[in-house]
Amino acid sequence: MENSLNEQIQQWAEQIKHSDRKAFDELFRKLYPRLVYFATGYTRDKAAACDVVQDAFVALWKKRFEIDPASSLKGYLYTAVRNRALNHIRNRSGMVLLDMEEEELPGTEYQKQHLEDSYPQVAKKFEKWIEELPGRQRETFKLSRFDGLDHEEIAGVMGISEKTVNNHIVAALGYLRSCYNTYQSEVNREE
C-alpha cells in the first residue's frame, strides 16, 4: 500500500508541475496530517506545526515548475517541513535553544494527554519508549516506521548517509526490543 501511495504521489508531482490544483489538493489531504505530526516532533506545538506545514505547501505551489518528477516529492516535502520547523525553533524568541543533534526532549503535554484515552496498553508503552529514544534515532525511526519513507528519502531529509539511517534504526529497534522484553516478562509474572 505504501508503495502504491508513493506511485500516486509521483503522478501528482507530474500534474502539479502542470499547475493541476486538484492534484495539489489531493496531495495535501493525504500528507497534511502526517506532516503535522512530524513537524510537531520539532515544534512541540501543534499550531506552529500546522503553520510550518502550510508554509511548505504554499512554497511547493510557488515552485511547482521546478518539480523534478524523477525525484521523491514526499522526500522533498519532509525536507522542507523539517527545515522550516528547525527555523521556527531557532527564531522563537525567549525560548531555550534546542540542539536537535543531541538534545533529548522530555515527554510533553500532547503525549500525556494522549496516554490517558482508551488505547491498547502496549501501544502506550511503545509511545513512551519511542519518545525515550535519543533525538536523531527517534526521528529516523519515526520517519521509517510511521511515515513510510525509505532509507534514501530519510537520508535526504536528515542530511545523513543511508548507512547512518540504517544504524539509527537498528539501534532504535535494539532499544525498543529490550524494553518490550522486560515489559513482557513483567506481564507474565503478574499473570
Binding site: 495535501f28 496530517p33 505530526y37 503553520d51 494522549h114 511503545f126 544504524n167
Partner: protein, 313 residues
C-alpha cells in the same frame, strides 16, 4: 494508506534486520510490528485538514496577486505584517486596499468600473482593482476569464493576469487566465481596437493584437505567441453560455465545466489529463450530455457523486 503497514520492502526493514543475528530477527520483526500500534500521537481531523487547505488556497491566490511583495516570510511574521498593514490602512484610510470582486461558480456577472468601462466576468472569476482606479492609472488584476469593454481615457488600461500584461487605450477584448489550467495559460483575443500583450516586466517583447486576432502565453513559452486569426464568433463564447473546445486538454475542459455548472469533477483516469479534445456546444442544456460525449470519444465512463461526477476508465 495505513500506519500499521509493515509488508513494505521499500521501508528498508530487510536492510535493518540483516544487522541482527539470525536467531533474533523474528523477535525484532515483532517489535517493529508492535511498535506500529503506537500511531501518531497528534491527530489531525478531516475538518482541520480541509480548513488548512482552504487557508493554503487563499494564500496561494493572494500571493499570485502580490507576487512581488514579501517573499520569504514565516507565518508569524506575516501575522505581524498584516497587523502593521491594518494600522497603516486605519491611518491612511482604506483607499489603498484593493477591491475584490468574485463571481460565484455557475453565474456570469457584469462589473462596471469607476471609469465607465465594463467587464463581463465568467463563472468563478476574480478581479482586484484599486479604489483609486481611474485617478492613479487604470490597472487591475484578473484570475479567470473576462470580456472587457474599455472606454477611451487619459490613462492606458492595464490588465495583469497569470504573469502577463494586456495594455490598451479603448477597445473590446477577452482575457482568459485560469491558474488551474495547464501551464497557467493566458490568452487574449480582440474584437475591437488594438491591445498590447506582454509578459510582466518584459514590455519590450510585446505582441500587438488587432480585431479578430488571438495570442497565448504559457509557462513553456519565452513570450506571447504571434497573433493568430480567430473568428469573431469564437471570442468569449462563454458570454452566451456556449462552449468551444479546440484541442483543449481534458483537464481544462473539466475545470471549465466545474465552474460553469458549479460541480466537482474528478478525473480518475491516469494519463488522460492532457488528452486533447475538440468539441462545440451552441446550446449546452445539461452537463451529463457533455460528459457522455467526452466519455464516448475517449473511451471513458462517468458516475455521479454527491457533489458532481467521477470520470474513470
Amino acid at each position: 494508506m495505513t500506519e500499521k503497514n509493515i509488508e513494505n520492502k521499500k521501508s528498508g526493514l530487510d536492510e535493518v534486520l540483516k544487522q541482527f543475528p539470525a536467531e533474533e530477527r523474528d523477535g525484532v520483526a515483532e517489535v517493529w510490528k508492535e511498535s506500529g500500534k503506537a500511531g501518531p500521537a497528534v491527530k489531525t481531523s478531516k475538518k482541520e485538514t480541509e480548513q488548512a487547505l482552504a487557508g493554503v488556497h487563499e494564500r496561494i491566490d493572494l500571493e499570485t496577486y502580490s507576487a512581488s511583495a514579501a517573499n520569504k516570510t514565516s507565518g508569524y511574521f506575516r501575522v505581524w505584517m498584516a497587523a502593521a498593514v491594518v494600522m497603516i490602512i486605519l491611518a491612511a484610510g482604506w483607499l489603498l486596499l484593493p477591491k475584490t470582486v468574485t463571481v460565484p461558480r455557475g453565474e456570469i456577472a457584469m462589473l462596471e468600473l469607476p471609469d465607465g468601462s465594463s467587464v463581463e466576468m465568467n463563472s468563478g472569476t476574480t478581479i482586484w482593482y484599486s479604489r483609486l482606479f481611474s485617478y492613479t492609472g487604470r490597472s487591475l488584476k484578473l484570475q479567470g476569464e473576462a470580456f472587457f469593454d474599455v472606454k477611451t481615457g487619459n490613462h492606458p488600461f492595464r490588465v495583469e493576469a497569470g504573469g502577463t500584461v494586456v495594455e490598451v487605450t479603448g477597445t473590446r477584448f477577452n482575457v482568459r487566465s485560469w491558474s488551474d489550467d495547464p501551464g497557467s495559460e493566458t490568452s487574449v483575443a480582440v474584437t475591437e481596437g488594438e491591445v498590447q500583450f506582454y509578459r510582466l516586466d518584459e514590455a519590450e517583447n510585446k505582441v500587438v493584437l488587432r480585431p479578430g486576432e488571438i495570442s497565448t502565453w504559457h509557462t513553456s513559452l519565452a513570450g506571447p505567441s504571434l497573433p493568430e486569426p480567430v473568428s469573431a464568433g469564437d471570442v468569449a463564447v462563454w458570454r452566451d453560455q456556449r462552449f468551444v473546445f479546440q484541442d483543449k486538454p481534458l483537464l481544462s475542459i473539466f475545470n471549465e465545466l466545474e465552474r460553469r455548472y458549479d460541480v466537482q469533477i474528478y478525473l480518475e483516469a491516469p494519463g488522460f489529463s492532457f488528452e486533447t479534445l475538440t468539441a462545440y456546444y451552441n446550446q449546452p442544456q445539461n452537463l451529463e450530455r457533455i460528459l457522455e460525449d467526452i466519455c464516448m470519444v475517449k473511451g471513458l465512463r462517468y458516475a455521479e457523486t454527491a457533489n458532481g461526477y467521477r470520470i474513470f476508465k
